[in-house]
Amino acid sequence: MAITPPSNLLWWREPVARTELVWIIIAFAWGLVMFFMMIYWHGAGEQNLSNEAYRISAERFTEKTNEMIESHEVRKEGNFPVVRPPPGSDVYLIARLWHWWPILELEKGQSYRLHLSSLDWQHGFSLQPTNINVQVHPGYELVMTVEPDRAGEYAVVCNEFCGIGHHLMVGKIYVTE
């Protein structure tokens, strides 16, 4: 029994039952499938998170964001500048307690290099309703190329707990035709 020492002192010499052996082989093969699936998706899939990231200070990231806002602001919504950067360009989004800055307006079917960083604590970039979730760290700038494929209004929900205002931290991204 499992709570007594093995009755067969030489238990490691016992042959393995066929049923078990077959299952081990199937499970192992399935592991290989799942392993290669990740590699395959890097080639064939369209959704892979970029590995491009840099160390950056909060000041420097704010500067770069402000430059973008100055050149491409199209209007204001409340306090938030709405920025419409040209397709293919570098786009910056600041996470800080407790908002995403600024509002972005992107064009459907175009790609943008989206830079994400936090000025204070960690935040979670959760783009809804498409459901893309990426962690945002202070001191690190993540650069990923995104290609919005449907027009509409998207929300950036913060999904990393960031203190008492966490549930108020919502940003916006417009995607136009």
């Binding site: 709570i3 799942m34 990740m38 998170l49 309703p129 962690q135 929900v157 999904n159 919502v170």
Partner: protein, 570 residues
């Protein structure tokens, strides 16, 4: 010396009284913290139920921090200490090495747990159990965690010491039992876990005191999860050992093959790898090669370990039942299993739900790219309520129903309540797991007070289905809480007011006539010679495993499909 032992009338094992007292103390502490943590869990779930929205925001985040700490850390690890002492001193017929050190460990753990709870309740440490920097808790929050960890480490050393003593004093013949081997796996992983915890929590403690200026967020997270994830591997090793133990005690089940089951445990140690990896899949600047290698634990070999246990545990039960004459069709052994015995029913539900809910979702979510659609959504707590609640907690609850008569030597009070408890709790937990996973698939964030975003400067509405999921989650939470209360009531009632057990106890159905076996420990030898190749026919298990595999494969590819529907990313 002699009076330090008693002989167990049920198993004939010599029980070292200091070991027995330590098992009792750790189990009681565990249950107390489960009750506290479970209470916070209910408050959290009721707050996340949009129609109820019970707590104000600050209390919600505080309660969530306390819930995570009290159940994940304190309840589980105290209970694991009891499992370690049981699997070493009791199963090996041996004295516990240095009970004094074990008591010191217990006191440290208790002090640590109390300090952490006080810190959280004081309100300056609402940082969640992960306490990601640069969010800062009060210094005694980290100090409490460290004390708790040191106490657990002492417990592990006492366990190792007991194995050495047993070997030197020749208290058993041959190799250690499989259950002890599983516990050994857990203890080895625990040492690695606690070392990682110390590496990250000591600097963080110093940082909270102002002695260290800066802690890098990525470094923190990587090392923190080397602790945080490995500790989940401890839980798996421990609850799998508990599955084997219950199957053996209730049905006299013998592992189909000692070799295979032990190898599967060994996989847990060997392929633990940098288990932090799957918590780092959407962090900035982590290379894909590192992620793929580590999430697949070098080709999913740790998962393979669990998949092996997933067959050998039910397989050994089926083999034992068939030996008892339940051979009709492919499922008579299962239909006529002791479903009224909470130790068995809890164990079997733990096995099924751990595999189907926790296991499958974990592997899917830990796939490099698929993590993009799940990270930090409610899918994550959905998944781990499938592993650590439906799996570990339910398994620990189940074995409690054997520990009470054998170690506390009390009869269960309210046996009818005990009989229904695993079902009520199991159903509730299945609900919270699945509905949180459902809400997560719809994008709902975890650790979030208000999914209506009332008061936010910019609005957003989650789909209506998400609100439905959160309501169903709340209902399931109430059910799980009732199951939890039933457990606590039966345990506390039995320990304090249960009738004393004098003679041997009946742990499972008696061995059928004509089949060799002890009447004391049911069917002790019934399947004594089971397990050699060729004699084994377990068609029912093969069918169950087949269903599991099909679900796994389908669900895995469905999620790739979901992934392919989000914005293209490079």
């Amino acid at each position: 010396m002699a009076e330090a032992f008693r002989t167990c009338p049920t198993t004939g094992l010599k029980v070292h009284l200091p070991a027995e007292n330590l098992i009792k103390a750790n189990a009681v502490a565990a249950v107390v913290f489960l009750a506290i943590g479970g209470f916070f869990g209910l408050l959290v779930a009721l707050t996340r139920w949009p129609a109820v929205h019970l707590l104000p925001a600050d209390w919600f985040y505080l309660a969530l921090t306390a819930h995570g700490l009290d159940v994940l850390l304190v309840w589980i690890i105290f209970f694991e200490m009891a499992v370690l002492y049981f699997a070493s001193a009791v199963l090996l017929n041996c004295r516990l090495a240095t009970p004094r050190v074990a008591w010191a460990g217990f006191v440290l753990m208790l002090a640590g747990a109390i300090i952490v709870n006080v810190a959280v309740l004081q309100g300056q440490s609402t940082v969640m159990f992960t306490s990601y920097v640069p969010m800062k808790a009060a210094p005694h929050f980290y100090l409490g965690m460290l004390l708790f960890a040191v106490g657990a480490l002492l417990g592990c050393f006492v366990f190792f010491g007991t194995l050495v003593v047993a070997r030197e004093e020749r208290t058993y013949r041959g190799s250690i039992p499989l259950v002890t081997f599983g516990a050994l796996t857990a203890a080895i992983i625990a040492v690695f876990t606690i070392a990682s915890g110390a590496i990250i929590l000591i600097p963080t403690f110093l940082w909270s005191l102002g002695i260290i200026q800066h802690i890098d967020t990525m470094v923190y997270k990587t090392v923190w999860w080397a602790m945080g994830h490995s500790s989940q591997q401890i839980n798996v090793a421990a609850h799998v050992a508990v599955w084997y133990a219950i199957a053996a005690m209730v049905l006299g089940a013998k592992p189909i093959s000692e070799k295979v089951s032990r190898l599967a445990f060994l996989f847990y140690i060997l392929f633990l790898q940098l288990a932090s990896a799957h918590h780092m899949l959407v962090e900035p600047g982590v290379s894909s090669e590192w992620k793929i290698f580590n999430t697949s634990y070098a080709m999913y070999l740790a998962v393979l370990g669990s998949m092996i246990h997933g067959m050998t545990v039910p397989g050994s039960i089926e083999a034992a039942q068939r030996r008892r004459g339940l051979t009709n069709g492919i499922f008579e052994w299962l239909r006529k299993a002791p479903w009224g015995n909470p130790a068995f029913s809890g164990m079997f539900m733990s096995l099924v739900m751990f595999g189907f809910i926790g296991g499958i979702s974990g592997v899917v979510m830990g796939t490099e790219q698929i993590n993009l659609i799940m990270h930090n959504t409610l899918y994550v707590p959905g998944h781990f309520h499938g592993t650590v609640v439906a799996g570990t907690t339910l398994a620990f609850m189940a074995i409690t129903y054997l520990v009470i008569p054998l170690i506390f030597r009390r009869e269960l009070v309210m046996p009818r309540v005990a009989k229904w408890q695993p079902y009520v709790f199991g159903l509730g937990v299945a609900g919270i797991s699945l509905f949180m996973m459902g809400a997560g698939t719809l994008g709902v964030a975890r650790r979030h007070w208000d999914i209506t975003f009332a008061g936010a400067m910019l609005p957003y509405d989650y789909p209506g289905a998400a609100f439905l999921m959160m309501g169903l989650n709340g209902l399931s939470a109430v059910l799980a809480t009732i199951g939890g209360i039933m457990y606590v009531v039966v345990v506390v009632g039995s320990v304090f007011f249960g009738r004393r057990v004098e003679g041997p106890v009946e742990l499972g159905p008696p061995a059928p006539r004509g089949v060799a076996g002890g009447s004391d420990l049911p069917a002790a030898e019934v399947v004594g010679q089971y397990g050699s190749a060729g004699t084994l026919k377990i068609p029912g298990t093969v069918a169950l495993v087949g269903v599991f595999f099909v679900c796994f494969v389908l669900y895995y590819f469905v999620n790739w499909k979901y992934l392919s529907e989000i914005w293209p990313l490079r």
